[in-house]
């Protein structure tokens, strides 16, 4: 099986280059995921660098650009991929080394939406707050995000304005708290996002929806935020 992989080490390389790799057929097991192949390739050349952890699509470590589309290596079956399999770091993010990008700007936007419950008064310690099944269902499709960055790194608006546009992942998170019946800072959250760049750079290109490995829909979440803003203003 043939691979064509983006390589860059700032210590050695003046500029990035693409390296061809070959994985022998006898190393490929049935049902193998792309991450399994990368681990085998690293046995051949241990300088090949990438992040990985859970191997089952829940930790969000191994987001990368696979044959032109962002995804998680650990849940992308090898058999689905056209050869040579072209692997690039997530686009629009600064590269640290090989397939490893700097996630700090991404997490900075995440933190900026205050992704925690804000309440006026702490609830009684020995009790749970009540949330109806219907209210809890509003969080489905939002809370499952694993912060892999595939969506934001697929968004042209985020590529051009990574510091001013929050990007789909952070906005999905904002929506998760705006929609939470237990949160008491909805107005404040909406006000913070009411900005030509932070929210309104989303032009519903919907790349985020296409690439999300968890099947989430950030565009819809962003639409919801816009609706809530409108409601607030009326």
């Amino acid at each position: 099986m043939r691979f064509s992989i983006y390589r860059y080490n700032p210590e050695w390389d003046e500029q990035p280059f693409v390296q061809d790799f070959e994985l022998a057929d006898d190393k490929i097991e049935s049902g193998m995921m792309l991450l399994g192949a990368l681990i085998k390739l690293k046995e051949q050349d241990e300088t090949l660098s990438f992040r990985r952890s859970c191997q089952e699509g829940v930790c969000g470590s191994d987001g990368m650009n696979i044959n032109g589309t962002n995804g998680l290596a650990c849940i992308t079956p090898l058999s689905d991929l056209k050869q040579p399999i072209e692997l690039r770091p997530l686009p629009g993010m600064p590269v640290i080394r090989d397939l490893i990008v700097n996630m700090e700007p991404f997490f900075k936007q995440y933190k900026a939406v205050k992704p925690w419950l804000i309440v006026d008064e702490e609830p009684q310690p020995e009790s749970e707050r009540i949330q109806s099944i219907e209210d809890r269902e509003k969080l489905d499709g939002l809370y499952e995000c694993i912060l892999c960055g595939c969506c934001s790194a697929a968004c042209p608006s985020y590529w051009w304005n990574p510091d001013r546009f929050m990007g789909p992942a952070a906005l999905l998170q904002a929506s998760r708290f705006i929609q939470d019946s237990r949160d008491e800072a909805k107005a404040e959250r909406l006000e913070q996002l009411d900005d030509a760049y932070k929210l309104f750079r989303c032009h519903t290109i919907m790349n985020c929806v296409q690439v999300c490995p968890k099947g989430l829909n950030p565009t819809k979440a962003i639409g919801k935020i816009k609706q809530e803003m409108l409601k607030q203003k009326l």
Partner: protein, 602 residues
């Protein structure tokens, strides 16, 4: 060559190593107490393995069926096969409702019942009224409870302005001149630069060591780094022979299928279509304790009733539950089955087999999370400044076998308890001590261990030369552990395994890494991880060889029953030991009567 003076030193009140649930819960408590806290994690916190926990967290809230913390305590003591310490178990079960309410207040999106209360499901080993009807004690956010919990705790820590050293690897603990622990030597994975963290208190919350076994449910990062650090600091690790094999890993692959699947009504069948758990556990059936279910599956397969062409797995049947229940309560495992097997559990059964899952053993602590070691005056003398919590600790609430839903509880309760004690300790111990010079020098020498001079003139990469490779040694180690330290064990197989592991570990000094870059050198990280795996393998298999009884997850074919007379005791393994030492189980609870050991049936 780097000298001590070149390494920057950072000063903190508290150092937390590991950013899973236990570490983050502790960090939050410390940060909210206005202490200066550093969290060191080799990955971004949301990548920690807590994220993969599915089923839920136990607490006697009685939202669905009648419940009582005392029943929860009974079940946990029984589940532990009477090796759990009853003071710690009482503490955990009493604290459970508060821990869950706290988590709800932090914002976790628990699933809800019709009346808006937290949803609770049935899980293995749970009973009402001290061994009566099945209880429903496991609070769940669908089948993504660990993910929901980890993200919530991370979010609260961002709010509390906890300082994170993300993608930093902890190499070794550092001692103070007074003999306590005074921080750690770490390095940035991104730059390769070392940093000394000088901290008056240190918490190890580094998780378990599932990567010891070839097929496991664990993340690749679960390499027992905290165990390695503790052993190298001269501290023992406890009860390592007790390793949980989860009954329902995806056959041949290892991904976890939550016990919640059986809690929601799923059951196991063999090649004859027989619901075989009825034979092994007539009352609890598929919701018997994990050790019992794993042994039953193993036995079915061994006796030729396995499914598939190789007769090497059994099926977990969920298709009778209906699409609605599966979509609502088990969406994550449905996704996983579809991704890894091309099977939709709404229509087809899932092939499963027992898979290495959880380290019951760990760094010995008391109920305040303080690391305790035997001394002349006491079997449990606290080590100044050092704490442990979560899977890396052995309190011991899980004893010889952990109940499903108790690990997420363990990390919350003891993450907080450790932090509470650290706050107290910091108040009483205002000033930092000096580092012990030898301990610093040893740590620095260890840090340099994988550096070599084989870089070419221009520093570029070189073809890999003939030497032992890290991946080869790791693969061999994991294969030996799987073959020689699995579900059923005998003296011969274990003894042979000990020799094989020793031989593999003896080859470590010949290993080399060929990537000598400072920038994000994951080969170097894997080399340090391999050393830790080696320490854990020896601790586990040597402790297993010497325990001549069957208790919980440790099943000896040659000693097939529990021996309370001789073996109701914890094992303690030090680096280099040929044989563990032992200390008594704490059988006296805090306020209630002890549960004396009785025959354990489900």
């Amino acid at each position: 060559m780097q000298t001590l003076n070149d390494i920057p030193i950072r000063h903190f009140d508290a150092l937390i190593i590991g950013a899973g649930g236990a570490g983050l819960r502790a960090a939050l408590q410390l940060a909210n107490a206005d202490l200066n806290v550093a969290v060191v994690s080799k990955v971004y916190p949301t990548r920690s393995h807590t994220v993969a926990a599915q089923g839920g967290i136990n607490a006697a809230l009685a939202n669905v069926l009648p419940d009582d913390w005392h029943w929860h305590m009974f079940d946990t003591v029984k589940g532990s096969d009477y090796l759990g310490d009853q003071d710690a178990i009482e503490f955990m079960c009493r604290e459970a409702p508060r821990a869950v309410y706290e988590l709800e207040h932090f914002g976790i999106p628990f699933s809800r019942l019709d009346n808006g209360n937290i949803y609770q499901r049935k899980f293995g080993g749970q009973s009402q009224n001290f061994g009566g009807d099945q209880a429903a004690r496991t609070c769940a956010a669908a089948d993504r409870t660990g993910h929901a919990m980890l993200h919530t705790l991370y979010q609260k820590n961002i709010q509390a302005k906890t300082q994170f050293f993300n993608e930093h690897f902890a190499v070794d603990l550092l001692k103070s001149e007074q003999g306590g622990i005074q921080g750690a030597l770490i390095f940035s994975i991104e730059t390769g630069e070392p940093v000394i963290i000088d901290a008056r208190t240190t918490l190890l919350s580094t998780g378990g060591v599932g990567q010891l076994f070839r097929t496991c449910t664990n993340a690749l990062i679960n390499t027992g780094d905290g165990f390695g650090m503790a052993l190298r600091a001269g501290l023992p690790i406890q009860d390592m022979e007790f390793f949980q094999f989860h009954p329902t890993g995806i056959a041949g692959r290892g991904m976890l299928i939550t016990e919640g699947a059986r809690g929601e009504g799923g059951y196991l069948v063999n090649a004859d279509g027989e619901r075989f758990m009825e034979r092994y556990a007539p009352n609890a059936k598929d919701l018997a304790s994990r050790d019992v279910v794993s042994r039953s599956i193993f036995t079915e397969v061994k006796e030729g009733r396995g499914c598939g062409p190789e007769k090497d797995f059994v099926y977990l049947k969920l298709d009778h539950l209906g699409a609605e229940v599966i979509k609502k309560r088990l969406p994550g495992i449905r996704d996983m089955s579809k991704t890894f097997l091309g099977i939709d559990p709404i229509e087809e059964a899932i092939p499963i087999y027992p898979t290495a899952h959880y380290t019951m053993g760990g760094i010995p602590t008391d109920i305040n999370g303080r690391v305790v070691v035997p001394s002349k005056s006491s079997p449990e003398q606290a080590v100044n400044g050092l704490y442990a919590a979560g899977e890396s600790a052995c309190v011991s609430v899980h004893g010889a076998n952990r109940l499903g839903g108790n690990s997420l509880l363990d990390i919350l309760v003891f993450g907080r308890a450790a932090a509470d004690h650290m706050i107290e300790y910091l108040r009483e111990n205002t000033y930092a001590h000096k580092f012990d010079k030898e301990s610093l020098q040893q740590a620095i020498a260890h840090l340099k261990h994988w550096d070599t001079d084989e870089n070419s003139e221009d520093g570029s990469q070189q073809p890999q030369q003939q030497s032992e490779s890290i991946s080869q040694l790791r693969d061999e180690l994991r294969a030996v552990m799987e073959q020689h330290c699995g579900v059923f064990r005998t003296k011969e197989i274990l003894a042979e395994g000990v020799e094989k592991i020793k031989a593999i570990v003896a080859r470590f000094p010949d290993a080399k890494i060929h990537d000598q870059s400072k920038v994000f050198n994951t080969a170097r990280v894997e080399a340090f991880e391999l050393e830790n795996l080696g320490e854990c393998a020896l601790a586990t298999i040597i402790s297993a060889l010497h325990r001549e009884e069957s208790r919980g997850a440790h099943s000896r074919v040659d000693f097939d029953s529990r021996d309370d007379q001789n073996w109701m005791k914890h094992s303690l393994f030090h680096k280099g030991d040929e044989k563990p030492e032992y200390k008594p189980v704490r059988t006296k609870p805090l306020t209630v009567e002890s549960f004396p050991p009785i025959e354990r049936t489900y």
